[in-house]
Symmetry: C2
Subunit: 423 residues, 2 copies
C-alpha cells in the first residue's frame, strides 16, 4: 500500500519523474563521481514533501531515529550499507559504542536504537550502548514492546577514550543530536566520532544545509535541464530573533513576505491554484517543536504570548534565536483521509528504505514530524532503487526512485555542509 | 524451505558453525582488511558441498550464470553490490557491453543474461548485449520463457575499442568463460574488460584457484583456531594427461590413491563412517562434463574407451590434458529424496544470494552441476548475511551465514589467483 497522490497525475512532477527515469544512467553516473569526491555522512534520513507539482526535502537528519519503522525485508540492505560505511571510514573497527538520545521512556525511540544495534551486529561489529544519562550508573536493561530488551550502560572516560566496563570501542556512533550541547565527556576523543560533534544542533544550522542544497540541486538540475525550484524550497534565515520581544520579528516578517512573493510568481508560472505558505521553524533543533505554518506576514507580527512561548523553545529547552523561514511544500499524498509524507533512510550513500509519516490529525500544509497519537509510520513496501522505465513515471518503483534521487541530493548537501564545518 | 541436513546435527560442522557465529566480529574484521588489500572479482559464484562434517567449496565460477535462479527479493542487494563494484573499478562508466556465452537456445541461460542486464540497468548503467556468434549479424530479439525478450547485437571492433551500432561502452563485462579460447576481437582492448581475459578457461586452472584457497583458508582457520580440512578439500593436479593413452594415467592413479589415503586418516580422526571418494575432472573448463567419481585408484587404471572419450573432452570441444583430482565432499543436504548443494552468488565482495542445486537423478557423492531434466534450482529464501547468535548454529540464517563465510574465502582465493595471473 502506498499513498494515493491526490493531485492530477499530469503536472510538472510527472514530467520531473519522467526526466529522472530517462536520465537514470546520467544521474547515477553523476552520483558516483560525487561520492568519490565527498565524505558521506555515516547515516541520514531526509523528510520529503510531495505536492504533485514539486518534490523537495524539508529536513535532513544526521542522527536518524526511526530505523525500526523500515520494512524488515530491507535489513540485508542496511547490513550491506553499514559494512560499506565501516569499510570506508574505519575498516579496523571491531567495536562500536552507540550513544542514543536521553529518552528512556520513549519505547518507539528505544526500538530504533535496538534496530540500529542489530544492523551493526549483523554487519559484524561488537556493539554496546552507552548512555549520557547520569541516572544510568550501572547496566540497565529495558524491556521493549516487541519482547526484546536493550541494555544501556554508563559511559566512562579513560584519558582520551570513551569506554564501557570491559569495552574499549574503536568508534563512537552518535544517535543523539546534541540539542542539549556537547557534553564534556564527548570532547577531544581520540576515537572516531560519527557523525562529528559539529553535526550536532549546538553548531549545525538548517540554513547551512539548505545553502549547500542550493548548490548541489543547481548542479543536478543543470544535468537534467530542469527548473531547480521543482526540487528546492526557497528559504531565508534570521539570526538574533527574540520571540519574547515583538520588535525583533520584523526581519522574520520581511523574509516571510519575500518568500511568499517568490512563491506566488512560481505558482503562477506552473499554474498552481493553491495558497502559498511558509514554515517558520528553529534553524537548529528538531522534533517538530517550535514550528509554525504562515500564509501571511501579518501572522508573524500578530503572535500572541502563547504562540511566542511555543516558538521560543525547542527540544531540551534549547532557546531559539536563529530562525529558518522555508517555503512550505504541500503534501498531496494521502492514505484514506490521512496526509502522508515520505522519509528516506540512507547509510553510507545507499538508500536503504523509508517510511511514510501518516498523520490523521494534521493538514496538507502542516509539519507532520509531530509526536502524538495520530501519527503512524507506514514502511515502504518496495526498494527505492528499482526504477522501471517500462512502467509509468508515477508507478510505485518509479515514485520511490524519485524519492531516492532527491534524498541523495540532500545527502550530498549534508556532505558539503560537514566539509565546510571541518574546514 | 531449505534442505534437510540428513546427518546428525552434532558433528564437527555444528561446532564449525558455532565458531563462525561466535567469531563473527573477528571474521568480518578480517574480511574488511582483506578487501582493502585485494582487487575483488566483479562477480563470482561458488559451489559448496555440505557433508555435515565438512563445508567446502568445490568450484568457483568467475563468469557466473544462474542469476535468474536467485530470489527476486534480493534484487536490491544485487543492485547495491553492482553499484559498489562499478564505483571501485570504473566509476566513470556509463555504458556496459555484456558478452554472454554462445548459447542462443538455452533459455535458462538467456534468462540469466536478462537478469544480469536488469541488475546493471537498475544500478544506473546503459547496458547492451553483444554476441560473439558469427550468425548474429544484426540485432536479434529472442523471446524468453518469462515473457520478456533479449536482444543480441553483433560486436564490432573499432581500432582498440569494442562497440555496437551507436554504442561505445566504457566496460566490457564477460559472462562467457572463453572455453573456446580468446577470440581475436576481444584482444588488446583499451576498454576495461571484466573479468580480465586471463580469467577465462584458456589460461585459468582450477588447481591454481585451490592453491590460493589453501593459503587463504589456512589464514582464516588460524584466526578461528580450527582444522583447515573442515573447509578445504585435498587436491592434486596432473598435467599432460592423455585419456586416449592408458599409460599416461599413472600420475592420476597415484594422486587418487594419495588423496584417498589422506582422507582415510581424516575420516578416522573425525569418526566419519562414509567411504572416501575423489572427483576427477578437467583442471580447466566447466559444465559438469568430463567429471568422474572415483573410490579406488584401480578405477582410473581400468577406464573403458567410452569413459576415456567422455573424460577427454569438455565444453566447446576443448581437449583435456590438465586434470584435477579433488577430495570428494558428500552432500548430505536433501529435499525430499533429492540431493542438494548450495551455490552462493557474490558481486563485488557482497554475498547477494544463492540457490540450491537440487538433483533427483544423482547420488550424494556425485557432481550436481550437470544438465538434465532432474535438476531444479531452489532459491535461498533468506539472506546469507543475517547470522543470529540467539538461534542454534544450524538454524537457517546461521547455516546461510556459514555458506557466506566459506564462499567469501573462495572469493578471496579468486582475488589472489587473478593477482598472480596479472603479475
Amino acid at each position: 500500500m502506498i499513498p494515493h497522490l491526490t493531485t492530477a497525475l499530469n503536472g510538472p512532477l510527472l514530467d520531473l519523474e519522467q526526466r529522472m527515469l530517462d536520465a537514470q544512467p546520467a544521474i547515477e553516473h553523476w552520483f558516483r563521481l560525487q561520492w568519490i569526491e565527498r565524505t558521506v555522512p555515516f547515516y541520514a534520513s531526509v523528510d520529503l514533501r510531495n505536492s504533485g507539482f514539486k518534490l523537495a526535502p524539508v529536513d535532513t537528519n544526521l542522527f536518524p531515529g526511526g530505523f525500526n519503522n523500515l520494512n524488515p525485508d530491507f535489513l540485508p540492505l542496511c547490513v550491506h550499507a553499514a559494512q560499506s560505511a565501516i569499510e570506508k571510514i574505519c575498516p579496523e573497527a571491531r567495536g562500536v559504542l552507540l550513544i542514543p538520545e536521553n529518552h528512556t521512556r520513549n519505547l518507539f525511540y528505544l526500538q530504533n536504537v535496538a534496530q540500529l544495534a542489530l544492523i551493526l551486529k549483523r554487519a559484524g561489529l561488537n556493539v554496546r550502548i552507552g548512555s549520557l544519562l547520569p541516572e544510568i550508573s550501572q547496566p540497565t536493561r529495558l524491556a521493549l514492546p516487541n519482547g526484546s530488551t536493550l541494555t544501556l550502560e554508563p559511559l566512562q572516560r579513560r584519558n582520551n577514550r570513551l569506554v564501557l566496563e570491559n569495552f574499549d570501542p574503536c568508534v563512537v556512533l552518535l544517535n543523539n543530536d546534541l540539542s542539549a550541547g556537547v557534553p564534556e565527556i564527548l570532547k577531544n576523543l581520540e576515537q572516531t566520532t560519527l557523525p562529528p560533534l559539529a553535526a550536532g544542533w549546538t553548531s549545525r544550522r538548517k540554513s547551512q544545509h539548505f545553502r549547500a542544497y542550493d548548490q548541489v540541486a543547481a548542479e543536478f538540475c543543470q544535468l537534467l535541464d530542469i527548473d531547480p525550484w521543482l526540487i528546492n524550497p526557497y528559504f531565508a534565515s534570521c539570526g538574533q530573533v527574540d520571540f519574547k520581544q515583538s520588535e525583533s520579528e520584523e526581519c522574520l516578517a520581511y523574509h516571510v513576505e519575500t518568500i511568499l512573493q517568490k512563491m506566488r510568481v512560481k505558482y503562477a508560472e506552473y499554474n498552481v491554484k493553491d495558497t502559498p505558505f511558509v514554515i517558520v521553524k528553529a534553524d537548529a533543533g528538531t522534533y517538530g517543536m517550535g514550528i509554525m505554518t504562515v500564509k501571511d506576514a501579518s501572522e508573524i507580527r500578530g503572535l500572541n504570548r502563547k504562540q511566542r512561548n511555543k516558538m521560543a523553545v525547542v527540544k531540551e529547552g534549547m532557546h531559539v534565536s536563529d530562525v529558518l523561514v522555508q517555503e512550505g511544500v504541500y503534501t498531496f499524498e494521502s492514505i484514506n483521509d490521512a496526509v502522508a509524507e515520505p522519509v528516506v533512510y540512507m547509510m553510507d550513500h545507499f538508500v536503504v528504505g523509508g517510511f511514510y509519516r501518516v498523520h490523521t490529525g494534521r493538514a496538507v500544509d502542516e509539519n507532520l514530524n509531530a509526536p502524538g497519537m495520530h501519527f503512524v509510520p507506514l514502511a515502504f513496501d518496495t526498494s527505492c532503487i528499482l526504477p522501471n522505465p517500462d512502467c509509468a513515471p508515477d508507478d510505485t518503483p518509479n515514485r520511490f526512485y524519485a524519492y531516492a534521487v532527491v534524498a541523495r541530493i540532500a545527502l550530498l548537501a549534508a556532505a558539503l555542509e560537514l566539509e565546510a564545518m571541518e574546514a
